[in-house]
C-alpha cells in the first residue's frame, strides 16, 4: 500500500510544479505584453500601447463575406508640444492589386488594425517573422491587433482564420512592407 501512496504524492507534486510553471509563463506573457492576444488585441483595446507610438498607422478594416475591406487609414504624429495628430493617409497606404487589398507600410512601422465585421464572425490572421497575430472579430464588437511591421521588405499575407462561408479561403490581403 505504501508504494501507492508514494507515487501518488510524487505525481501530485510534479503536476503542481508543471501547472504552476505553465500558468506562471502564461501570466508573465500577459503582464509583460509579449502575449499578442492579451497585450495587443481583443476587446476594448486591452493592452494596446497608450499612447500609440509615433508613426503608428491605424487601419480601419472591415471583414465582409468574403474580403478584407480596409476602409480608412490614419497615421499618428506627435507635435513637439506633445499634441497628437491623426493624419489621413488612406490614399498612400491602401491599394488594390487584382482585387486584393494591400496595406503599404515601411519596415518596423507600428501598425494598429481596428477590425470589425458587418456580417459574420471572422478572424484576422497574419504570420510575421516575429510572431503571428490571430484575432477573432465578432459582429458588433471591435477587435484590435497591434504589431510592428517586419524589418524585411516584402508581402506578408493576412487571411481570415475563422470559417465564414464558402468563400472563406479567398478572404485575404497583403501587408506590403516597402
Amino acid at each position: 500500500m505504501s508504494e501507492h501512496r508514494d507515487w501518488e504524492k510524487i505525481w501530485f507534486v510534479v503536476m503542481l510544479v508543471i501547472v504552476a510553471a505553465f500558468v506562471g509563463y502564461s501570466f508573465l506573457g500577459v503582464v509583460s505584453g509579449s502575449t499578442a492576444t492579451y497585450r495587443f488585441g481583443l476587446p476594448l483595446q486591452s493592452g494596446v500601447p497608450k499612447p500609440l507610438p509615433n508613426g503608428t498607422v491605424i487601419i480601419y478594416m472591415e471583414g465582409v463575406q468574403w474580403a478584407w475591406v480596409p476602409q480608412n487609414a490614419t497615421q499618428i504624429i506627435y507635435l513637439p508640444n506633445g499634441t497628437e495628430l491623426q493624419i489621413p493617409v488612406s490614399s498612400n497606404v491602401i491599394t488594390y492589386i487584382n482585387g486584393f487589398p494591400y496595406i503599404k507600410v515601411y519596415p518596423n512601422q507600428p501598425v494598429e488594425m481596428v477590425l470589425y465585421s458587418n456580417n459574420v464572425v471572422h478572424a484576422f490572421y497574419i504570420r510575421l517573422p516575429h510572431g503571428p497575430q490571430n484575432v477573432n472579430i465578432v459582429p458588433g464588437i471591435n477587435s484590435y491587433s497591434f504589431f510592428f511591421a517586419p524589418s524585411a521588405p516584402g508581402n506578408y499575407t493576412f487571411h481570415c482564420a475563422e470559417y465564414c462561408g464558402i468563400g472563406h479561403s479567398y478572404m485575404y490581403g497583403y501587408l506590403w512592407v516597402m
Binding site: 500558468v23 506573457g29 459574420v120
Partner: protein, 518 residues
C-alpha cells in the same frame, strides 16, 4: 443485434451499431473531401465551384461525429459497463426511443445541405445561404425549413439527454447493495451519464434558440450563443474518452495480471475530470473578445484537467509496469495498450494549447485539427475497439476470436495507429507552418502536406476496413464462424487458458467471457 433490445447488452450493441453506421458515413465524407483538397484551388472560379460540396462534407463529417457518434459510443460503453458490473438497464422502451431520436432526426438536417461547420457559429449559421438545399427555396419557406433542420438537431440532443438520464437512473437503481460501484461502471455513470445530461442541455438550448430565431424571430446574440455552445462543445469531446478510461481501468489490469495500481485514485480522478471538463470550455475562445480574466481562468483549469488525464496514464502505466507481463498479443489487450500510448502521444500536442502566448500561434490551424483527430483515432476509436471486442464476445456467448479474426483486428489496429500518428502529426506541423483549417483553397506551399495527409488517410481507411469487417459482420450475424470460435484455441486467443465461458445467451453478467489472463 436487435432494433428493440430488451437486455443491457442489446442496448450496448444497438448504440454501437448506430455509432458505427455514422462512423462509416462520416469516414467516406472525410476521404471524399480529402480528394478535393488534393488541389490547392488557386483558380478562384474552380474553388468557388467546389466549395459548397467541400463545406457540406466538412459539416456533415463534424456533426455526425460530435452529435451522434460520440453520444452513441459513450452510451454504448456506459450500457456495457453496467452489464460487466452486474448492473443493468431497465427502461428498454425509453432507451430504444432515445436511440432513434439521437440517430434519425438529423437525416433531415443533412438533407438540407448545411455548410455551417459543426460548431455552427452565428450569424453564419442563421444565413439561409448556408444551407445548400433548404436555402434554395423562397425565403419564407427556406426559413421554416432551416428552422426545421435545427429542430431536428434539437430532437437529437433531447434523445441524448433522455438516454443518459435513463441509463444513469437504471444504473443507480441496480447498483451493488454492498460495496462500491465497480470502476468501469462508475466511469460510465459519470461520463456516459451525468456529464452528458448536464452539458447536453447547453447544445439543446443553443439549437432551440436557432429554431426560435427562424420560427419566432427571436434575436440571437453571437457571443452569448458561442459561450453557451462551448459549454457543450468542449465537454462533448470527453464523453467518449473518459468513458473509455473506465474500460481501460477494467481491461488493462486483467491483461497486466494484477489489480489496478490505485483504485482510490481512479475514483478520485472521476471527480477531478468531471468538474474540470466543464470549467475548461472557454479555452476554445482565447482569441475572442472575451474578458481577460475569463481567458486567464481557463489556463489553470485546462492544465488541472490535463493533470487528471496524466494521473490516468500514470495509474495504468504503473499497473502495466508492475504487472506480470502484459498480454499485448490479445487483440483486446493490444487495443487497450495502443489506446493508452496514443492518448499520451496525442496529449503531448495539447500541452501548448491552454497557454495564452502559445495558443495564438496555432488557434484555428491544422495544428489543432491534428491534435484532436489523433485523440479521436487513438483513445476513442482504438480504446473503443478494445471494449467492443469484449462486447461482441459477449454477444457470441463467450466465444473467442479465431486466428483470422484476431489477426485482422490486431493488424488493422496497428496499421490504423501508424497511419493516425503520421496523419495527426503531419496535420499539426502544417498547422504550425500556418495552414488554416477549413480552407478549400490554400497556399501552394502546403500542397505536399495535403498529398501526404491524403496518403496517410488512405492507410487509415484501408486499415479501418481490416478491423471493421469482423466487427461489422459479427454485429450483423454474418459469417461469424470465420472470426469466432467457441472451443479450442487457434492462434491468438482471447480466453487464454481455455474456451470462453458459455453464457446463457441472455444476461449473464457475472463472468468475464474473454478476459481471463493466462
Amino acid at each position: 443485434m436487435k432494433a428493440y433490445p430488451r437486455t443491457t447488452l442489446g442496448v450496448a450493441l444497438l448504440y454501437t451499431a448506430g455509432g458505427l453506421a455514422w462512423l462509416a458515413a462520416m469516414g467516406i465524407a472525410a476521404l471524399w473531401f480529402r480528394t478535393i483538397l488534393l488541389s490547392p484551388h488557386v483558380n478562384q472560379a474552380a474553388g468557388y465551384a467546389i466549395a459548397p460540396l467541400y463545406y457540406f462534407l466538412v459539416t456533415f463529417h463534424g456533426q455526425a461525429a460530435m452529435m451522434m457518434i460520440v453520444e452513441d459510443i459513450s452510451l454504448s460503453i456506459f450500457a456495457f459497463s453496467l452489464y460487466k458490473s452486474n448492473m443493468s438497464a431497465q427502461h428498454f422502451k425509453l432507451l430504444t426511443l432515445s436511440f432513434f431520436l439521437i440517430n434519425l432526426p438529423m437525416i433531415v438536417t443533412f438533407a438540407g445541405g448545411p455548410t455551417t461547420g459543426w460548431y455552427m457559429y452565428p450569424p453564419l449559421s442563421l444565413q439561409l445561404g448556408s444551407w445548400l438545399y433548404f436555402g434554395s427555396f423562397p425565403a419564407a419557406i427556406a426559413s421554416k425549413l432551416v428552422g426545421l433542420a435545427y429542430f431536428m438537431m434539437f430532437l437529437n440532443a433531447i434523445g441524448t439527454i433522455l438516454a443518459s438520464i435513463t441509463l444513469f437512473v437504471d444504473g443507480y437503481k441496480t447498483r451493488p447493495r454492498e460495496g462500491k460501484i465497480p470502476v468501469f461502471a462508475a466511469y460510465g455513470m459519470a461520463f456516459g451519464g451525468a456529464l452528458i445530461f448536464i452539458t447536453e442541455f447547453a447544445l439543446a438550448a443553443g439549437e432551440l434558440w436557432y429554431v426560435l430565431y427562424f420560427w419566432a424571430s427571436v434575436p440571437v446574440n453571437p457571443l452569448t450563443w458561442v459561450v453557451l455552445f462551448w459549454f457543450w462543445g468542449h465537454p462533448v469531446v470527453y464523453y467518449a474518452p473518459f468513458a473509455v478510461f473506465g474500460g481501460l481501468y477494467y481491461y488493462i489490469p486483467k491483461f497486466a495480471g494484477r489489480a489496478l495500481y490505485s483504485e482510490k485514485w481512479a475514483r478520485y480522478n472521476i471527480v477531478l475530470l468531471f468538474t474540470f471538463s466543464m470549467l475548461a470550455w472557454v479555452h476554445h475562445l482565447q482569441t475572442w473578445p472575451l474578458p481577460t480574466v475569463l481567458r486567464a481562468f481557463i489556463t489553470p483549469t485546462t492544465l488541472i484537467l490535463a493533470a487528471g488525464s496524466g494521473l490516468t496514464v500514470l495509474n495504468l502505466g504503473l499497473t502495466i509496469a508492475t504487472g506480470k507481463g502484459y498480454q499485448w498479443k490479445n487483440p483486446i489487450g493490444l487495443s487497450a495498450l495502443i489506446a493508452l500510448i496514443g492518448f499520451i502521444l496525442a496529449g503531448l500536442q495539447a500541452l501548448i494549447l491552454p497557454i495564452n502566448p502559445l495558443n495564438v500561434i496555432v488557434h484555428n490551424t491544422y495544428y489543432v485539427v491534428g491534435h484532436f483527430h489523433l485523440m479521436i483515432w487513438t483513445i476513442i476509436v482504438v480504446g473503443y475497439v478494445s471494449i467492443l471486442l469484449d462486447m461482441l464476445a459477449s454477444k457470441m456467448n463467450g466465444a473467442s476470436l479465431s486466428s483470422l479474426g484476431a489477426g485482422m483486428v490486431s493488424g488493422g489496429v496497428i496499421m490504423w495507429t501508424i497511419g493516425a500518428l503520421l496523419l495527426g502529426y503531419t496535420m499539426s506541423i502544417a498547422g504550425y507552418e500556418g495552414l488554416i483549417r477549413r480552407w478549400v483553397a490554400y497556399p501552394v506551399k502546403f500542397l505536399s502536406y495535403m498529398d501526404w495527409m491524403t496518403m496517410f488517410a488512405m492507410i487509415m481507411g484501408a486499415s479501418f476496413v481490416m478491423y471493421g469487417l469482423p466487427v461489422l459482420l459479427t454485429l450483423l450475424g454474418v459469417k461469424t464462424s470465420a472470426f469466432w470460435e467457441t472451443s479450442g484455441i487457434t492462434g491468438v486467443s482471447s480466453t487464454g487458458g481455455g474456451p470462453g465461458v458459455m453464457a446463457s445467451g441472455t444476461e449473464n453478467r457475472s463472468v468475464d467471457h474473454v478476459n481471463k489472463p493466462n
